[in-house]
């Protein structure tokens, strides 16, 4: 299974096309927050941009934190989420060490499902779907415990 990674974020221009695409295509929303990938400046517009998204942990702390089984571990890292089982407690977001899960005003969580539908909307090729074994040093750890 492939994982969405952000190996070339230094190219990011902050257009939010990826976030808007995720919200539009995956979550059927108009939003730049209700998305599995969110773009932030790294300390003002002069400092470039960073992507907040699931780094495909394995094991994923959000799975462990979820009290209702809404979150399940994906085989090669990351999670599957069954929203019908979610009670909007927000424990998943609190457990995520990299702030990858967005909670809306009702407590509904939005997390990357590594579907890759945002990738073609990036005008600078910052994003890539990669095999879980492929190294992407740009985003640090691979999400798999040694």
């Amino acid at each position: 299974m492939k994982i969405l990674k952000t190996p070339r974020m230094e190219r990011c221009i902050g257009c939010n096309s990826c976030s808007l695409a995720c919200a539009r295509l995956v979550h059927k929303r108009l939003s730049w927050l209700a998305a599995g990938i969110r773009i932030m400046s790294t300390g003002g517009m002069s400092t470039g941009f960073d992507a907040r998204l699931c780094l495909a942990c394995n094991p994923a702390p959000c799975v462990d934190a979820c009290p209702t089984g809404a979150y399940a571990q994906r085989k090669d890292g990351g999670v599957n989420v069954k929203k019908s089982l979610c009670i909007r407690c927000g424990d998943c977001a609190h457990a995520c060490p990299v702030d990858a899960i967005y909670l809306d005003n009702t407590g509904e969580p939005y997390v990357c499902i590594h579907c890759g539908r945002c990738v073609p909307f990036c005008p600078h090729d910052c994003l890539e779907m990669m095999g879980s074994s492929k190294k992407s040093f740009a985003e640090g750890a691979e999400g798999v415990l040694p």
Binding site: W32, M45, S46
Partner: protein, 580 residues
């Protein structure tokens, strides 16, 4: 959110309170330019001066904002300190999507805060915070503090003013997210008189999309048209500075306070030079994949032991023309240094550059002296211009305070009106001919973007007055329709009338989609009604003598043609703006 009315937040800074109002008229005024005019009609005080606390400062977006790419601009409307009349200025950055996701079609600010304040709004919050400690701070410093103080990092827009806005300069801009601006006609001074140092708009709401597949399909089609062709290459490659060399070759680039229309040293400041030597990276407005914002760098040595600092400066054709060509500064890094000072003071770069070019020629001619300008001004002296910018932005002397109210205001006092490069306000970077001079002088925003007069000059050799005026009127209508959606005008070739109708229809605005011709005329009329009601007399506009002395690739300006254009266009505008 898709709605058949407007949801508007009206904030009264005097009372420290706001209220949400429902404003009717969606099918007639659409949003953006139309909505701003519609709101000024309700909240504006045509007979009272621009600095009356009751005058509104309006920010408006449109029905397509966020739903389609490049629908990424915000329209700001106010009574201008430049001419005390109705004015519009446009900006992008994150402002449009922040307003959309704050669930507002418009934000209207009236009143005056008792102390310097920052207004913070979002879909679920409104606060007015005392920021007296930021008064006097420049744009960069203010931005840093506001980022710390308010929530919503990454998904908000931070608008702020610098010292120029605080002193009421008619050249004061409103900075948007560091690299964009509501630049022209003094919106920054309107914030200043309201004691409003900053506005933070947090976009923290989300909306359902139209049901079915039609919207998704149409989005994809529009997105591909914008990105899969070379149509937008001009904007993301060299960007608008590509025009510098092109216009210079045509003898149509305003240089040396318009004493020349080309400069043999231009190679130092062409778009190609900026891209190859200074360009660090690009940036985009939210919701636009083009990335037309070009950021150059300046590296300065502050200690002999190889100690440096650097900063990033956004550049475009207009800032380069105004602070480079007009001031005879032909080193790209020096130009960026001047632009940076202008940014920090919160001035409009076009007005500031053109005003200083007039001041330099006035110095040469002995009309003003170093006593007035504090620092001796000389064409090509970038360091002197950087100091002059600080004086202009802070109103350091009577001369600079008057100059900040408009170059012609200073010229009326000191002399030198003949060579003031003013077309309604300080000129834009096109010396293309009679149609452009007429278009900017009489255009509603006094902007090169009101209509494509500069393009018409380049495509037509005939001197058919009626044909040219008809073009200006209809082109303005087409543009005002786009700025009511609110589209970036760079996308005007993609968002044809048919495309706009499709987009509106798929979102559930069939009444607008079916009626675009009538709507664009109606919005055009409303704006001109406001402009005339606030005192504009098109027939009284004078174009300074300097413009009649120019020689471009087409030859010398035809003064007779220019006057005929001006009279015919003024007559037409008076007809459009007649109240019945």
């Amino acid at each position: 959110m898709i709605r058949d009315h407007f949801r508007v937040l009206v904030v009264d800074l005097s009372a420290g309170k706001g209220k949400i109002i429902t404003h009717e008229g969606r099918d007639e005024f659409v949003g953006g330019s139309g909505l701003a005019a519609h709101l000024f009609d309700q909240f504006g005080q045509p007979d009272r001066p621009w600095d009356d606390p009751d005058q509104p400062l309006i920010f408006a977006i449109g029905p397509l904002t966020g739903y389609f790419p490049l629908m990424s601009k915000t329209v700001c409307a106010f009574k201008s300190p430049y001419h005390d009349q109705y004015a519009e200025s446009h900006a992008g950055g994150r402002s449009a999507l922040s307003l959309k996701f704050a669930d507002l079609d418009a934000l209207v600010i009236v009143g005056r805060a008792p102390a310097p304040a920052c207004l913070a709004v979002g879909s679920h919050h409104l606060e007015i915070q005392d920021v007296h400690f930021l008064w006097g701070k420049n744009v960069k410093s203010t931005g840093k503090r506001l980022r710390q103080m308010f929530s919503g990092s990454g998904h908000r827009s931070i608008l702020r003013i610098g010292p120029a806005g605080e002193i009421g300069s008619a050249m004061a801009s409103i900075n948007v997210d560091t690299y964009r601006h509501f630049g022209r006609l003094g919106g920054g001074a309107v914030m200043g008189v309201k004691n409003l140092k900053g506005i933070v708009i947090e976009g923290d709401e989300m909306f359902a999309l139209p049901a079915g597949k039609d919207y998704q399909k149409l989005f994809q089609k529009v997105y591909e048209q914008l990105t899969a062709t070379d149509m937008m290459k001009k904007y993301h490659n060299l960007g608008t500075p590509v025009n510098i060399a092109v216009l210079n070759d045509l003898n149509a680039l305003p240089c040396r306070n318009l004493q020349q229309t080309s400069d043999p040293q231009i190679d130092g400041i062409t778009g190609e030079t900026f891209a190859e030597e200074t360009l660090l990276r690009n940036q985009a407005c939210s919701g636009c994949p083009i990335g037309c914002i070009h950021l150059g760098y300046v590296r300065e040595k502050f200690h002999q032991d190889h100690r440096y600092y650097f900063f990033q400066v956004a550049y475009d054709h207009e800032p380069i023309f105004a602070t480079g060509a007009m001031l005879c500064v032909t080193d790209a890094f020096a130009v960026l240094g001047i632009i940076d000072e202008i940014e920090e003071m919160g001035l409009d770069v076009m007005s500031a550059g053109v005003a200083l070019s007039w001041a330099t020629e006035a110095t040469e001619k002995g009309i003003i002296s170093d006593k007035d300008t504090i620092v001796p001004l000389k064409f090509g002296d970038a360091e002197a211009y950087k100091q002059a910018v600080v004086h202009l932005g802070s109103g350091a002397s009577d001369f600079y305070r008057l100059l900040g109210m408009g170059t012609l205001k200073a010229a009326e006092h000191y002399g030198g009106s003949d060579f003031a490069c003013v077309l309604g306000q300080e000129m834009a970077g096109y010396a293309t001919g009679e149609v452009f001079y007429t278009a900017q002088s009489l255009g509603l925003r006094h902007s090169h973007l009101d209509s494509g007069g500069y393009s018409y000059d380049q495509k037509h050799d005939d001197k058919d007055v009626q044909k040219a005026v008809d073009f200006l009127i209809t082109d303005e209508q087409d543009r005002v329709l786009l700025t009511s959606m609110v589209a970036c005008l760079f996308a005007r070739k993609v968002y044809t009338k048919a495309h706009l109708a499709e987009c509106l229809d798929v979102l559930g605005y069939p009444a607008i989609a079916e009626n675009l011709d009538a709507i664009k005329q109606q919005i055009q009329k409303k704006r001109w009604q406001l402009r005339l009601a606030t005192g504009f007399k098109p027939e009284a506009v004078a174009i300074p003598k300097r413009f009649t002395e120019l020689t471009t690739w087409k030859g010398k300006t035809d003064a007779k043609y220019l006057n005929a254009l001006k009279s015919a266009y003024a007559k037409k505008l008076n007809t459009i703006g007649a109240s019945t």
